[in-house]
Amino acid sequence: MTMRVQVAKLADIDVKSSRKVKVQDTEIAIFRLTDGSVLAVENKCPHKGGQLSEGMVCGGAVHCPLHDWKIDLRSGRAQAPDEGCITTFDLEVDGESGNIYITI
């Protein structure tokens, strides 16, 4: 069953930065990009499970803090030559309240 969960306020997340949240048993990283978009992905690098929320955000991608794998935050795919993919989650920001909701 899918659920819609309020996970944060926009102000909780710095630009070019990330915060993590646990929803049910899934750890999710929420990113706020320079272009204003806010994206949610599974907080687990496909390589060795590194926490992507801790990585450096560059454009629309995050670099895993453990071995520098570059993960595209929109598609969830690792950049070649690395191979792998993480789950992405639908996310909505309420323009008025600044509430961030994700659907899981």
């Binding site: 069953m1 899918t2 659920m3 819609r4 969960v5 309020q6 996970v7 944060a8 909780d12 710095d14 630009v15 070019k16 930065s17 915060r19 993590k20 949240v21 646990k22 929803v23 929420i30 320079t34 060795k48 590194g50 926490q51 801790e54 990585g55 450096m56 955000v57 560059c58 454009g59 670099h63 803090p65 453990l66 071995h67 520098d68 570059k70 030559p81 690395d82 993919c85 909701y101 659907t103």
Partner: protein
């Protein structure tokens, strides 16, 4: 498109799945694939089981293909199923659970079974093999409650099992039927050296013993030998050999001998059925090592993909023993039989042994003990089968004839001689052939191109010289004119050009630099962003506001991230000198926050490991000690020896000097980490001559040594100068560090920097008193503006929030 054919693989082990991986690359849409495995796990690296036992490797880490891999590749996986029957007429297999799978092509990769000695008592509890994850788990559990372990079998597998059990804290005896260990891989001389080494590690040996029976009621208690002697045993591990698992093939009417008989294309006697791996017998040999299995897999994959391929002609195998502290290599036919000649050197002092065996002018076998660095080269010569006449002694001594004759060694020949499967990049597991492929077929002509394609040299960078060497040999002229490389893939500008442009145009932020200098990636990458952040801070210490988003993880959170996402905390302990009060405080904090490990670092301080990110600010607040900056490109530690304060040899107060330096330079941002040491006399107990800056006291003065490194590439320091007073030590050290700050490339340690610019250039820059003083005043300016980062975070809600996990409020029903 043609309809997909059905491919069934029986056996979910390394050999079969490797072949499937190959096949998927060659012909991704050709087959519907079903894999049937008896073990309840995804495909794992069986070779690594001994690493799991020896500690340091988690069971999860040895999984090669996790469940998702099967899903992503559309493979149907049945685990916990044993195939009972092949209906070769109707072309289908039937499992013990009654599931049927039809096939057009069938691969048997059923592996082997451990051979269990059929002696009385072998069915008792506590008697196991060393073959799969379950055996490993049994060993780990047993070690918790029992003490005595007996391993039957002094071969490769037995010794690895024994080493693992030793590690688990058991008292281990190895029983071997032969009078020396690993007789199939080693000659007696090397074997004796191995035995001595393992005995020193605590292993016991019962050689020349025939196991007769196992005694005990329900559980084994002891082992009895044919000569009447006995030994206590709470656990018996049988590692006497493996037998190809041929049962299924045999029952299905496929020709078997010791293994399932296959031809050079891995085809069995029944059309449409192939076999490979440990269950297969090719030209009379059933291999039990991994390299041949991979070679067979490559041939089979091409065959199944319908591609032309030369057949498999058998493998020359080499063995390496994976036991910590023991390096053993053996390959080919190393026994000395009629018609062969052997050359050997044995060094009992250094604990090394080397033997090469020659027949008809060709190298046919080798045994190495202690130092196995020549193994790969010898093995590749052996596989090539070319004549080595005239070079025999050179190979034995490891010194090239050219070099003996005073000529430079032929570098190209060295790279050509490297075996294809030799691992070049140890961090990312990239073999020579992966690199040469990238050069030949993907048009890589630079180190960064190879790095992007294969990841070789992407981590520690220690293998970069080899990658460069391979480029010279395999890219030929294309590599002769390397394309101009910028500091990363985002720009073509190098460090000096960037710094010059920043100064010329007075660019003030990372974003501005990237915009004005036409960065290809608008927001840069993990290489250029931190570099630009550093250069800007170095150029404008007063105006520039450090951008935390452009710091790598460790520097952003002022702690070292560990592989499980926890962090470590290292408080500053000036000069390695602490106090009972500080030790108590550290101990109390460690207890209060359940810190999983407290460890002394190599830099004379304490590391609290395994700290949850949200606890970091709380721990820092309770410690109330400055950050040790153990995570950054900055001054790390100043290691000191006791010096004249207590030591009877000390000529100067090295502790006082070290503390003064650490207090002066702490928090300094530098291009790469900087490690210092001060020794109180030329005995140099603080190991100052492998530091970025090392100070060694002499009678009446101090020597300043620079550009040392004890890490990726060991480099001893060069002597910069000798001075008389502590104040002069500070002046020269400050000037040297600032000159490094202003001239080195980001992430370039002093050792690489010094090699690049030369000691003379550095000496010249520091020679004049006024130049030194200008540098000193600039470093002092920078240092005066630093603050303790831990304190800063504790005091700022805005910074501290990034350490907390979001709570996430209640769930709402999904819309739509």
């Amino acid at each position: 498109m043609a309809e997909r054919k059905k491919l069934v693989l029986v056996g979910n082990g390394m050999a079969g799945v490797r072949a499937i991986e190959h096949l998927l690359k060659l012909a991704p849409d050709m087959y519907d694939i079903t894999i049937i495995g008896a073990e309840p796990h995804p495909n794992y690296n069986r070779i690594m089981l001994s690493s799991v036992l020896a500690g340091g490797t988690d069971m999860k880490e040895i999984i090669i293909n996790d469940w998702d891999w099967y899903k992503e590749n559309g493979i149907e996986l049945l685990t916990g199923h044993t195939v009972m029957k092949i209906d070769t007429g109707r072309r289908k297999v039937i499992t013990d659970a009654g599931v049927e799978a039809e096939y057009d092509q069938l691969i048997l990769a059923t592996g082997s079974n451990p051979f269990m000695l059929p002696i009385p008592g072998a069915d008792k509890e506590g008697v196991i093999a060393f073959r799969d994850i379950r055996d490993c788990e049994t060993m780990i559990d047993t070690a918790k409650t029992y003490k005595k372990a007996v391993v039957i079998g002094g071969g490769l597998l037995g010794l690895e099992a024994a080493r693992g059990l030793l590690h688990l804290g058991m008292d281990v005896s190895v029983v071997h039927i032969h009078d020396y260990l690993m007789e199939r891989q080693l000659d007696e001389a090397a074997s004796r050296m191995l035995q001595r080494e393992l005995e020193a590690q605590g292993m016991k040996f019962l050689l020349n013993k025939h196991s007769a029976s196992l005694a005990g009621r329900r559980r084994v208690k002891s082992i009895r030998f044919a000569d009447g002697s006995e030994a206590d045993a709470d656990l018996v591990v049988m590692a006497v050999g493996i037998r190809p698992n041929v049962q299924l093939a045999k029952a299905s009417g496929i020709e078997i001998n010791r293994g399932i008989v296959v031809d050079d294309y891995m085809a069995t006697s029944v059309p449409g059925i192939y076999a490979l791996g440990e269950c297969a017998e090719h030209r009379g040999i059933a291999y039990g090592l991994v390299a041949p299995l991979y070679e067979q897999g490559a041939v089979l994959a091409k065959r199944l993909a319908g591609l032309e391929t030369p057949g498999y002609t058998g493998s020359v195998t080499s063995t390496k023993l994976k036991v910590s502290g023991v390096d053993v290599f053996s390959a080919g036919r190393f026994g000395e039989v009629a018609g062969t000649k052997a050359l050997r050197i044995q060094d009992d002092l250094g604990g090394t042994y080397k033997k090469i065996v020659i027949e008809d002018g060709k190298l046919i076998g080798a045994v190495l003990f202690g130092d196995t660095s020549d193994g790969a080269e010898l093995f590749s010569l052996m596989k090539k089968g070319e004549s080595i006449e005239g070079r025999e002694k050179e190979l034995l001594l490891g010194i090239s004839a050219n070099l003996l004759g005073g000529q430079a060694p032929d570098a190209a020949a060295k790279y050509e001689a490297m075996a294809d499967d030799e691992i070049v990049c140890g961090c990312n597991g990239v073999s020579k052939v992966a690199i040469t492929d990238a050069i030949r077929t993907k048009g890589c002509t630079t180190v960064s191109g190879v790095k992007a394609c294969t990841k070789a040299s992407a981590s520690c960078g220690g293998c970069k010289p080899i990658v460069e060497g391979l480029l010279k040999v395999y890219a030929g002229d294309a590599a002769g004119e390397p394309v101009k490389e910028g500091i990363c893939g985002c720009t073509t500008l190098n460090r000096d050009e960037i710094v010059a442009e920043i100064s010329r145009m007075r660019l003030m932020t990372v974003k501005e630099v990237m915009n004005v200098l036409d960065w290809r990636e608008k927001e840069g990458c993990t290489k250029c962003r931190p570099a630009l952040n550093y250069y800007l801070g170095m150029l404008y210490p007063e105006e520039y506001i450090d951008e935390k988003e452009s710091r790598v993880t460790n520097e952003r959170y002022h702690a070292n991230i560990q592989k499980d996402g926890t962090y470590s905390v290292v408080p500053r302990i000036y000069g390695g000198v602490t106090s009972p009060a500080d030790l108590k405080k550290i101990a109390e904090v460690a207890e209060k926050f359940d810190v999983p490990m407290v460890k002394f670092t190599g830099g004379q301080r304490l590391d609290l490991l395994g700290v949850k990110k949200e606890d970091l600010p709380k721990i820092w607040a309770e410690l109330d000690m400055p950050s040790g900056h153990a995570y950054g490109k900055t001054l790390r530690t100043v290691k000191t020896c006791v010096g004249s304060t207590f030591c009877r040899f000390g000529t100067q107060d090295s502790i006082g000097m070290g503390i003064r330096m650490e207090k002066a330079f702490e928090r300094l941002n530098t291009p790469a980490k900087v490690k210092l040491a001060v020794s109180g006399c030329p005995r140099n107990c603080a190991e100052a001559t492998i530091k970025d800056l090392g100070v060694v006291a002499i009678d009446g003065g101090w020597e300043l040594h620079v550009g040392g490194n004890g890490g990726v590439k060991v480099r001893a320091t060069d002597l910069l100068c000798i001075v008389k007073t502590e104040d002069e030590v500070m002046e020269w050290s400050s000037a040297y560090l600032q000159y490094y700050r202003e001239n080195a490339v980001w992430n370039e340690r002093t050792a690489q920097w010094l090699e690049r610019v030369g000691l003379d250039a550095i000496k010249a820059a520091l020679e004049k008193k006024e130049d030194r003083q200008a540098l000193v005043s600039r470093i002092e300016k920078t240092l005066s503006l630093t603050t303790d980062p831990w304190k800063q975070i504790i005091e700022s809600d805005d910074l501290r929030k990034n350490f907390e996990q979001l709570s996430g409020s209640g769930a709402l029903p999904a819309r739509g």
